[in-house]
Symmetry: C2
Subunit: 336 residues, 2 copies
């Protein structure tokens, strides 16, 4: 058994991250992390006719890049674990089809970046594959069209709202030794704090992030200071404040080590992104471009990556349901 | 390594099916398998206000039942692997939330019944959990509302169309010995044969079923006759004919051992269900109620369960995309 505590897994044979890749849109390229991304596309339609096809192209490109960076071909990969935010995860289906690799389709809202890495790591560590790809995406325009208002409507946005990142991050996990490995995971539970405001995702997801981080620290018997960073997915500024308070109430102070991909990826002052970035592309590209290089170099020894998701659909929301959250945690460590 | 062939897994420590449960709607209860289901609800709204809440209740009930049949409590279960057909899989989120069990949300259209069992089996066999639940659902009314026409519209249906099953099937997989075990899996790839008719799902999914079964037989070095039954999910009568022909062209004749959950669950003549049943509830409840008892009793030694999914959304379909398919295969064997 590789189980630890109430809901975590500690891998006996920790899988390595062989390579990672990030592809983003124009706005993300103009943000503070701009020069760190592998590919920035000036045309947010990526040469396609629809926003959904554009998001499919994002996944296709990030997967091509992650293969290229590792010097691998599609036939070297045994399985793909992938997902996106669109209904019936069609960005994934149409984006990855041509690779001809067996696919596990996932949906965990913006937590899917963590869910896919968790399942991919379980697959490799379990001896089920030499190499797998995990990939997720989001696209500002396809998400706005689906969840909020058509862009042409030009509605105003409250300050608590987040800005869906146009981007896709891909990872190859495998048994070949590198300097970055996934040593454990804490899959999350659905937590419902009764939030009903779809324009305040941070508040909806913070309790789930709190629950997963709390159980993670308990399961592994670690303290926040044992991590160089604890990185949530897309809580934004509003959600960050709530998370830090909720965890303080439970006896853990993460304020000195916490950051959030949604806060890092945009410059709120100059980019008008309100509370921060969001989407399962947000955490996937930010980890790859901004955080992972520091673990690889050894500047950081250990980080906790905790993508967060808000579980709603336009139907559930219009039918008056709450917006519950979920978060999955992945431990990433440096190895000499 | 527990890998076999190009894309399959053969478990060294095969997980057992500890219990299973099926909950269905009124029409399914009136069909040929009616008396075999654990629970038939006379009210297809299951006492709820909306079709989506009704589908959530289906998952809640099947999960409660599968726990009860095994004499277990929610806290005995380490993880849930679950999904449904609705946008953002909301039937799952709202149905399973109250169990407070870490959740891996999945989307593989109607193949999710196979995908969830495959991942659940990998999890238990990998030493990551003692017991997991896998659960999927579909609901005729929530699916029609989302993918086709509101019921009030009373549109006519072509004969190739399938009838979405109102039902949810749940399984507990674990390390405790029983008479039924999962010995291997063959995760499937996306296969696109250029089908553009959303009213002919069988034709869209048959090529994917063919691809997965073909690779399964090659990977394990088995013949169709090595299985007491090869059971696809929801190809229906139209898809069955195509599948048998496609596999014959590739050198395998499965005609004597093939059946399909969508064909078994309804009586086409008296129930007006055209090509047959569909939905990820269809294969989940039919396996539990109709096929698994025969493996448990030893009447059948080995079956191949191959749920099939059509990868479309209303958006992809209206934007003129094809309807590709995917199928995941699970080997279920009797043990004395």
């Amino acid at each position: 058994m590789q189980t630890i505590g109430t809901q975590s897994i500690q891998f006996e044979h920790a899988p390595y991250i062989l390579s990672s890749a990030s592809v983003v849109g124009k706005k993300e390229g103009e943000g503070p992390l701009g020069e760190k991304f592998d590919m920035i596309c000036a045309d947010d339609k990526f040469g396609e006719n629809t926003w959904e096809e554009a998001e499919s192209t994002l996944q296709k490109e990030s997967t091509a890049l992650v293969l290229g960076k590792a010097g691998l071909k599609p036939q070297d990969i045994r399985y793909i674990f992938a997902g996106d935010l669109l209904g019936q995860t069609i960005a994934t289906s149409f984006g990855l089809m041509d690779y001809n690799i067996p696919l596990f389709g996932l949906y965990g809202a913006c937590s899917t970046a963590g869910e896919s890495m968790a399942l991919g790591a379980m697959c490799v560590a379990g001896g089920y594959a030499d190499k797998v790809i995990t990939v997720t995406s989001s696209h500002f325009a396809s998400a706005e069209k689906q969840f909020r208002y058509p862009l042409e409507y030009a509605n105003q946005r409250p300050e608590s709202s987040t800005w869906t990142v146009t981007g896709s991050g891909a990872y190859i996990l495998g048994t070949d030794k590198t300097k970055v490995k996934i040593t454990g995971i804490t899959p999350g539970r659905i937590v419902d704090y009764g939030v009903r405001d779809s324009m305040n995702m941070g508040a909806a997801m913070a309790p789930a992030a709190c629950d997963t981080i709390f159980h993670h620290l308990n399961d592994f018997g670690t303290k926040p200071q044992d991590y160089d960073k604890i990185i949530t997915g897309d809580l934004g500024l509003v959600g960050q404040e709530i998370l830090i308070k909720l965890l303080k109430d439970k006896g853990y102070d993460i304020s000195s080590v916490h950051t959030d991909c949604g806060i890092e990826i945009f410059d709120k002052e100059t980019q008008g992104t309100d509370s921060g970035g969001s989407g399962c592309g947000c955490s996937a590209v930010t980890l790859s471009a901004h955080f992972l290089p520091r673990v690889e170099s050894g500047e950081w020894k250990k980080i906790l990556f905790v993508p967060t998701g808000a579980l709603l659909s336009t139907v559930s929301f219009n039918e008056g349901q709450n917006v519950p959250g979920i978060a999955h945690a992945v431990v990433i460590e440096h190895e000499e």
